[in-house]
């Protein structure tokens, strides 16, 4: 052992010698009512809003409502030991959580207590849970992408560092999968991820943690859990705690990503707590400030300017809708707060388009600014093509006998693009691979590849690129710009790849040759 018992004695002795028994006057009150995680306290005349209250026995509460005669406090954690008539003291502090690199790789509760059995966490620094978001002066435009590794997102709905992109959809549409894939894709990079699970089954969270561990993603991730069995008070606090942990990285000039999974349950927890402290109910019985609850949380996601460290906090809130109803109360609230949304659709999901992102309803309001130059050039016009294809496909579903050549070409192209936007879970794609495969699909290099062989084409292309065109991939990954050199490189890559591998179906290869399309696409506009 490094520390002997005599050393411990010395430490304790020093602490005792330094001890000053100073008695600060504190406010006291008496519990008059306790239940459902709420305590009503008489007295505490000098109590501040959101002040931390000491109930004794290491139980703390948060002053939530200051009324004429009483204070309503939400109790953090177990409240079994609190009895009517018990003494409550003010602490003069506002609630804080531990922050810092010690938390990375850990699974904790909203108060920073470890849940993963990996031992105590050294509390080096703490931050206030509920703070005001950074103002305009300290911010900067969002201009650096978060690479999610998901082709359809990186291509059509780029997410920037400091952005707030909502993931919305029914249950079982792959919302969490998008967030987890994004976290997995940050492996070995500079983005610290925080996954906040609110009101979820502990078994689902355990599965997510196991998945993250399996893919080596826990090395850069903090998981904050307020499960379904935890009191609503902790569920209410969880996203704020996760946000505070992210802010630590943001304010120290680093980049962080926080996933709130999901804010629907957070709104439920807040509704429960609010009703228990008798705040007046509003629409759908949510309290009047449920919008402010989410706006002040999401506003803390920011990209700081150079004078303020240049760090960023990106937020990926998740909202679960009921029967695709995005015009319900909480979904519209959060849609209006965020800088865009990824709308996950069950129909697409069931049709096998996964991730099931609806390209029509999804948007990223930060857009091209947060996209790498190479990517934005390659995918130009793709979203439009895809939409036209979807429309046509629905139209021609019942027999496509006499369609003109242009329509057929559009259908063929759209089909290929949809096909390569499908992506299995936990298989993020590197930027250079994304650029190459999207270039191939968008410029018509894949028009002669049968639909069933698109996945194979992509796999082989990636392998081919890694072996034969290493420098090109390196160039795309490391340099942000786009020029003829890159474009010609990509063209050469695809020409050589197609020569080496035969993915084309023999009959149509001649009819809609890649060269013909490529030539027409050479002038950038694809149609």
């Amino acid at each position: 052992m490094a520390t002997t018992s005599s050393e411990i004695t010395d430490i304790i002795r020093a602490q005792i010698e330094r001890f000053e028994g100073r008695a600060e006057p504190v406010d006291v009150g008496t519990v008059v009512e306790v239940g459902d995680g709420i305590a009503r306290i008489q007295g505490l005349a000098g109590c501040m809003a959101s002040e931390l209250l000491d109930f004794g026995h290491d139980t703390f509460g948060l002053a939530f409502n200051l009324e004429e005669d009483t204070v309503s406090a939400i109790i953090l954690g177990e409240y079994g030991a609190i009895k009517e008539g018990a003494e409550v003291r003010t602490t003069g502090r506002v609630i804080e959580v531990p922050v810092g690199d010690e938390l990375v790789g850990r699974v904790i509760d909203p108060l920073g207590r470890p849940l993963d059995g990996k031992g105590a966490i050294a509390r080096k620094a703490t931050r206030r849970v509920d703070v005001v978001a950074p103002g305009v002066i300290t911010r900067q435009n969002v201009d650096t992408p978060v690479q999610t590794g998901i082709k359809s997102i990186d291509a059509m709905f780029p997410i920037g560092r400091g952005q707030r992109e909502l993931i919305i959809g029914d249950r079982q549409t792959g919302k969490t999968a998008v967030a987890i894939d994004t976290i997995v894709n940050q492996k070995g990079q500079d983005l610290v991820c925080i996954y906040v699970a609110i009101g979820q089954k502990e078994s689902s969270v355990a599965k997510i943690v196991a998945t993250l561990e399996e893919h080596g993603a826990m090395d850069h991730t903090i998981v904050v859990i307020a499960g379904a069995s935890d009191p609503a008070t902790l569920q209410y606090l969880a996203p704020f705690a996760g946000c505070a942990m992210g802010e630590h990285f943001r304010d120290s000039g680093r980049d962080a990503l926080v996933v709130y999974d999901d804010l629907t349950k957070h709104a439920w927890a807040y509704r429960q707590v609010s009703l228990l402290v008798r705040r007046p109910p509003g629409r759908e019985a949510y309290p009047g400030d449920v919008f402010y609850l989410h706006s002040r949380l999401l506003e803390r996601a920011a990209r700081m300017n150079e004078d303020h460290g240049g760090g960023s906090l990106t937020a990926l809130p998740i909202i679960e809708t009921q029967a695709n109803d995005i015009s319900a109360y909480i979904p519209t609230n959060v849609i209006s707060i965020t800088d865009g949304q990824l709308f996950m659709e069950p129909d697409l999901f069931n049709a096998g388009f996964r991730p099931a992102i609806n390209p029509g309803l999804s948007v990223s309001r930060v857009g091209g600014d947060a996209q790498r130059r190479a990517m934005s050039r390659v995918v130009r016009g793709m979203k439009l093509q895809l939409q036209q294809y979807r429309e046509l496909a629905a139209f021609t579903q019942f027999g496509a006998a006499d369609l003109d050549k242009a329509t057929l070409g559009l259908l063929r192209r759209g089909e290929r693009i949809s096909e390569i936007l499908k992506q299995p879970q936990y298989e993020p794609v590197r930027l250079d691979h994304q650029v190459a495969i999207l270039f191939a699909a968008n410029r018509g290099y894949m028009d002669d590849v049968p639909k069933e062989r698109c996945a194979e084409f992509e796999r082989d292309l990636r392998r081919f690129m890694d072996t034969q065109f290493r420098e090109l991939g390196e160039r795309i990954r490391t340099k942000a710009d786009w020029n003829d050199e890159v474009e010609n490189g990509l063209k050469r890559l695809l020409d050589e790849f197609k020569k080496a591998h035969g993915h084309a179906e023999p009959a149509t290869a001649a009819a809609v040759g890649p060269r013909a399309s490529a030539a027409s696409a050479g002038s950038e506009q694809v149609r």
Partner: protein
């Protein structure tokens, strides 16, 4: 000390205004205190018994409070008719609190591990009055578990200089 329920306080405030106008605050206070002592839970149950006609209950209450000021008797009848006689003790307490607050009197509960001498008690009260700038109405208690020092609760403020509290603080600091 925090005041009782808000309904009781409204009655108490109204009574205090009337009492101030007639300059007989202390008379009212004594009357209310007497009534609080007289109207116990049994009396309240009897007064709220709907099987007894309201006139009989009113007469009984009137007879009991015949010596009290007119306003106090009016309040009693009002409470009886509105079936709120149960808050009577709270009104009396709220009235006392309001008067104390207006006159700058604070209740202090002083606990010590050993019984204090009368001179020591006066000294403590005087010091408290000097530091708080208020008049102190003190109650003294003995609590051997404090081990040493004193624990003074002044209204809602607690000043705990007892040895027990200091040991607890030390325990927390060593544990963290």
């Amino acid at each position: 000390m925090a005041l009782a329920g808000s309904a009781a306080r409204r009655y108490a405030e109204a009574l205090l205004e009337i009492a101030t106008e007639s300059g007989s605050v202390n008379v009212y206070r004594d009357a209310l205190d007497r009534l609080r002592a007289a109207i116990g839970p049994d009396a309240i149950r009897a007064l709220r018994d709907r099987h007894v006609p309201i006139e009989r209950r009113r007469n009984a209450l009137d007879a009991a409070a015949t010596d009290e000021p007119k306003a106090v008797r009016a309040v009693l009848v009002m409470l009886l008719e509105r079936d709120r006689i149960a808050i009577m003790p709270e009104i009396a307490r709220a009235f006392g609190d309001l008067v104390d607050r207006r006159e700058g009197i604070v209740h202090a509960k002083i606990s010590t591990p050993v019984e204090l001498e009368p001179a020591q008690r006066d000294d403590v009260v005087q010091r408290l009055e000097r530091t708080s700038g208020k008049r102190i109405r003190a109650t003294f208690a003995v609590d051997p578990a404090l081990l040493g020092g004193a624990r003074i609760q002044l209204g809602d403020r607690l000043i705990d200089t007892s040895v027990r509290a200091q040991l607890e603080t030390m325990q927390r600091q060593l544990a963290s």
